[in-house]
């Protein structure tokens, strides 16, 4: 009964996917002829490479590795909040997305996001070639002496985090191919443009664009550039995708669909928390100004306050210590402190974190009434991201605004008494959200019209593990033990005149 699969026999959608991945692979050989850029190596051979290059690069690479580890955090968080029949698919998604983003970031993402230019970077660096003097090609990266490769890696893992956030709202019902198509668009265009404007030296960051006189936007590590951008894509996907089957009863009342593993969720949250010690402190892009431990302290204080605030808020509403909300509180507070972590004094961190913790709980309660966001990504990354970005306009310390050289040097509202910075933050958030939401909406809309966003109802019932990947995340739970050890199928009884077993797989 072995059915041989040939290219011709594949359904058109599958064929398209196969060709797309082949094209992506073919891209790999394009820049093979370009010589590698290595002035650092030449200097090192001559014994003239300053020690600070090595020291700063070590910190940026270590921080980047911590941020890469956040992929594991997202995976476990999403697996824990999914049902057991949709556990394995998250693993495949995280690995595939991370890999596609890496190729796209190398091809054009980094050059667009951090190259010189007001609207989009275009000074070179596509396929990591034609870099010339990195401080001129990537001016905003010139803040420290770490090598450009270290900075490339650090910014790439940010892009991958942003992409991972998009899918939080889409669990348990999206077609796997959508991940592939959208991640190419996201990592080569949507994220690079948004990140460029907000923290890549683009018009929002430098301020005074088109003669508006608006202050430069402050976003130290990406409350807007990474988290809100991810959440905006997530909202666009969710609106076109619709809720999971069974989320809303016939009367429209929302029903909880509990995730299958709270310990895995907790592991995910803790890995993310650890990863954030690379995310925020690493955004100093160097170690030698000694700023990174202070940023780390601020980040941790905010996260701790977020957990306590979220647990208290949920307790007041439900009279229970909510495990999921404790985790969501940590994530939301970390998202909120991401933008201000390099701009505020330590006293502001607990306030920003605690407000983030309250926002996420109320946000989840509110969002859950109308749309189906399985992990609370819209609240934890979207609403908390907006709050974090705006909080710069309130709490930014003049000394740090001056040191970072972005925004109003008089500081935020509590220092300057003027809403100058606050306005810049609100305008920046609005522009970033509008841009990413509309770009993503168009992308998902086109995917919906051509390839389709959602699996069939039968596949959703059976679970994405078996329907999209042909295997279970937890085989023992779905396959009885006698069959696992290899019982042969019995003789099939003749069914003369009766119904024949359907060729199309029907779920249980």
């Amino acid at each position: 009964m072995e059915r041989r699969r040939t290219l011709r026999a594949l359904p058109p959608a599958r064929k398209l996917m196969l060709l797309a991945s082949l094209a992506l692979l073919a891209m790999l050989i394009i820049p093979a002829v370009a010589p590698a850029y290595s002035p650092d190596l030449e200097k090192a051979i001559d014994g003239k490479l300053p020690a600070d290059v090595g020291i700063n690069s070590i910190w940026v690479v270590v921080a980047g590795a911590l941020v890469m580890f956040m992929q594991a955090g997202f995976a476990f968080l999403e697996i824990g909040f999914s049902r057991g029949k949709n556990a394995g698919t998250v693993v495949a998604k995280i690995l595939t997305n991370f890999s596609i983003a890496a190729i796209c970031w190398w091809a054009c993402g980094f050059a667009i996001a951090f190259g010189a230019g007001g609207f989009a970077g275009h000074a070179g660096g596509f396929f990591f070639t034609d870099i010339g003097d990195p401080t001129k090609t990537f001016p905003v990266m010139g803040l420290s002496s770490a090598t450009i490769e270290a900075k490339w890696f650090f910014q790439f893992v940010f892009c991958a985090v942003s992409l991972a956030i998009v899918w939080g709202t889409t669990l348990e019902r999206i077609k796997f191919g959508v991940y592939i198509i959208y991640s190419i668009v996201f990592a080569s265009l949507i994220y690079p443009l948004g990140a460029h404007w907000v923290f890549g030296g683009g018009f929002l960051q430098t301020g005074d664009w088109l003669g508006t006189g608006i202050a430069g936007m402050q976003d130290f590590a990406g409350s807007t550039a990474v988290h809100l951008i991810g959440a905006s894509g997530a909202l666009a996907a969710l609106l076109l995708l619709g809720p999971r089957k069974g989320k809303f009863g016939p009367d429209g009342e929302p029903r909880p669909i509990p995730g299958h593993n709270m310990p895995l969720f907790g592991l995910g949250v803790l890995i993310l928390w650890l990863g954030w010690f690379g995310f925020n402190p690493g955004s100093t892009l160097g170690a030698l100004d000694g700023r990174f431990p202070e940023v780390l302290l601020i980040t941790n204080l905010a996260a701790a306050s977020g957990v306590l605030a979220a647990v208290s808020t949920a307790y007041i509403r439900t009279k229970a210590i909510d495990i999921g909300m404790a985790g969501n509180g940590a994530i939301a507070a970390l998202v909120a402190i991401t933008a201000p972590s390099g701009y505020v004094e330590i006293w502001a961190a607990p306030i920003i974190g605690a407000v983030g913790g309250v926002i996420v709980v109320l946000g989840v309660y509110f969002v859950d009434k109308y749309i189906d966001d399985p992990v609370g990504a819209l609240s934890a990354h979207g609403m908390a991201g907006i709050w974090g970005t705006i909080s710069c306009g309130i709490f930014t310390a003049p000394r740090l605004a001056e040191y970072n050289a972005f925004g109003d040097p008089a500081g935020g509202l509590v220092y300057s008494g003027s809403p100058q910075q606050l306005i810049a933050q609100v305008v920046g958030v609005t522009i970033a959200f509008t841009f990413v939401f509309s770009m993503s909406y168009v992308t998902f809309f086109l995917i919906k019209k051509t390839y389709g966003l959602r699996v069939s109802e039968a596949e959703e019932d059976a679970g994405l593990d078996i329907s999209e990947h042909g295997m279970y995340g937890y085989p023992e739970q779905f396959i009885p033990a006698p069959e696992l050890v290899g019982a042969a199928p019995g003789p099939v009884p003749a069914t003369a005149g009766g119904p024949v077993a359907t060729g199309k797989e029907v779920p249980a």
Binding site: D461, I466, G470, F478, P480, T495, A508
Partner: protein, 123 residues
């Protein structure tokens, strides 16, 4: 007294339960079971090797009613559990000797489904 024993798809259970409750039959038990029939198995692939799973999960519903109510129960199950595809399941009707309500010790047909106010049981 008869027991109606139905093997159905998971998604058919909720509409059946709701309708039986409205008709005044709140008492039933269910079990998650696995079984084989004409419905094909699911083929799982693991590292390139295939593993076919011939037993498919179903819900088993047990409901004991007096003889005059059997047809109502069966009709309700047939109405909601039928999708027309192979794998919809089967219904069996079995005779039952006797029934006791544990709380009071009373026996006979009045122990079966006769809740005075079925609406109260919904809450």
């Amino acid at each position: 007294m008869k027991m109606v024993l139905a093997y159905i798809r998971h998604e058919a259970f909720e509409p059946i339960r709701t309708e039986l409750l409205n008709l005044g039959f709140p008492s039933l038990s269910i079990s998650e079971v696995k079984g084989s029939g004409r419905q094909k198995g699911i083929t799982e692939r693991y590292r390139g090797a295939e593993l076919t799973n011939y037993l498919r999960p179903k819900v088993k519903v047990e409901c004991v009613v007096s003889d005059k109510d059997v047809q109502t129960i069966v009709d309700t199950v047939l109405k909601h559990a039928r999708s027309g595809e192979v794998g919809d399941g089967k219904v069996f009707v079995l005779p039952v000797e006797e029934a006791y309500r544990i709380r009071t010790g009373e026996s006979g047909e009045e122990t079966l489904q006769a809740h005075p106010d079925p609406a109260a049981a919904t809450a």
